[in-house]
Symmetry: C2
Subunit: 284 residues, 2 copies
Amino acid sequence: MMNWISKNNILIVGLGLMGGSVAKGLKRLGFHVEGIDCSQAAIDFAVSNGIVDCGYAYPDEVAIRKADVIIFALYPEVFKEWVREQQHLFKYGLLITDVTGVKGCVVYEIQKMLRDDVEYVPAHPMAGREVSGVENADDSIFLGANFIVAPTERNTEAGIEWCKGLGKILGFRKISVLTPEEHDEMIGFVSQLTHVIAVSLMTCNDNTHLVDYTGDSFRDLTRIASINENMWSELFLMNKHYLLQHMDSFISEMSQFRDLLAAEDREGMKEKMRLSTERHSYFI
Amino acid sequence: MMNWISKNNILIVGLGLMGGSVAKGLKRLGFHVEGIDCSQAAIDFAVSNGIVDCGYAYPDEVAIRKADVIIFALYPEVFKEWVREQQHLFKYGLLITDVTGVKGCVVYEIQKMLRDDVEYVPAHPMAGREVSGVENADDSIFLGANFIVAPTERNTEAGIEWCKGLGKILGFRKISVLTPEEHDEMIGFVSQLTHVIAVSLMTCNDNTHLVDYTGDSFRDLTRIASINENMWSELFLMNKHYLLQHMDSFISEMSQFRDLLAAEDREGMKEKMRLSTERHSYFI
């Protein structure tokens, strides 16, 4: 049985905020955790703060060979490249998973290139902070958050259960299974569209003179406007299909509201507001 | 000197969330506060909960005649009508102010129709809650909030100072003086545009099946999506000029971002994100 007790040696590839947080959580649970990251500074920080047991600023052959589980916390393109180049070192029957925020553009390509004896179970722990880097790693961000497993037809039931188990032991509140496409459509709406809105609100005019007058509404809508441009631009491009659909439907809805206001259609605006209030009640 | 100590009898017209909160704050400071509201239930609640000393569900002549100060917490159109019909009862030299969330469409009209001996100093206490009604009145919402005085050329220095004093004694963090036009442009951006965005995010598609997957970003952007449609539709219509400008500039900015994504212009998206992050740093 592929349970977590028998998987002692965990390797985390990519020690940023997410990789570091996963490492912290697994270390706390008693696993032996090693890390690989291209930044020596990130490795030094992770080792000296006990986030990993040991680490390497290069793809250390011994570390890769002995891993029972590899968890990837890399940007999508780097993730693909790394698997392509290093999979000859993977232990026979290895299980791998990831934390990537888009699935469709990553999952099929990696599963297709992967050795037949290795199973990649795609996952997206939906947690994060407004800051990045292993120095901000914090496994308490998982508590109360959602963990999505996004398997394909190539995945085994056992592999999916194993991956759900990872979400459970890390303390996630809810574990869901979605197809890669369902995941990407959902994430395009609840996460990516909201980030584009926050960015556009900050960039649509020079609003910095208004800092004295902003209340809760403006602060809430722009909390996520400080954004890691390298990561998010890559995520947006990888989810272009769904994100464009959501942006188009949002822009069209805003434009409809704009036209109702321009036409002084009070009833039309009230209708939208009533629908908004009603739908919002499900989210409270 | 028009100081607050000499103004003992305060009349609040309109006992909703804001009128009730102002009444509570002034009662706490030791003033004699009476209230008028067309709802007998609101009056009953306010009296039996000590929010006002006494109240009337009609424009009581004695209450109006003896008021040293009247504070209006009505919807804009009702506010105008009330002043037009009742100002013959106002005490000579009366000071009035309000809490209306738009200024240009209200201020000039009321000042023009007002008796020469009465001074109306326009104000907007920028505070609120997601719930309405006098039963939710709470003067602690003023602490840390902004109080805007929006005078015109018809106002006296003494009247403006008196109105700033109201904001101070109610516990507002910051008291500002803006022209009605500056106020309306500002409020159209920081408050009204953000509400249209939250509403449009809720109405642009049926998203209720996503309730299990929403994280902090979606919750933050839609916190204000439960909205009092009567009040906000009136405020939007009264600030149509500025709100349309802001909506147009926001929609155009979102569309630009959409085109950058469609063209897979990674650098263009990153440029927007960097600007957003930089501007947002002023608001933290």
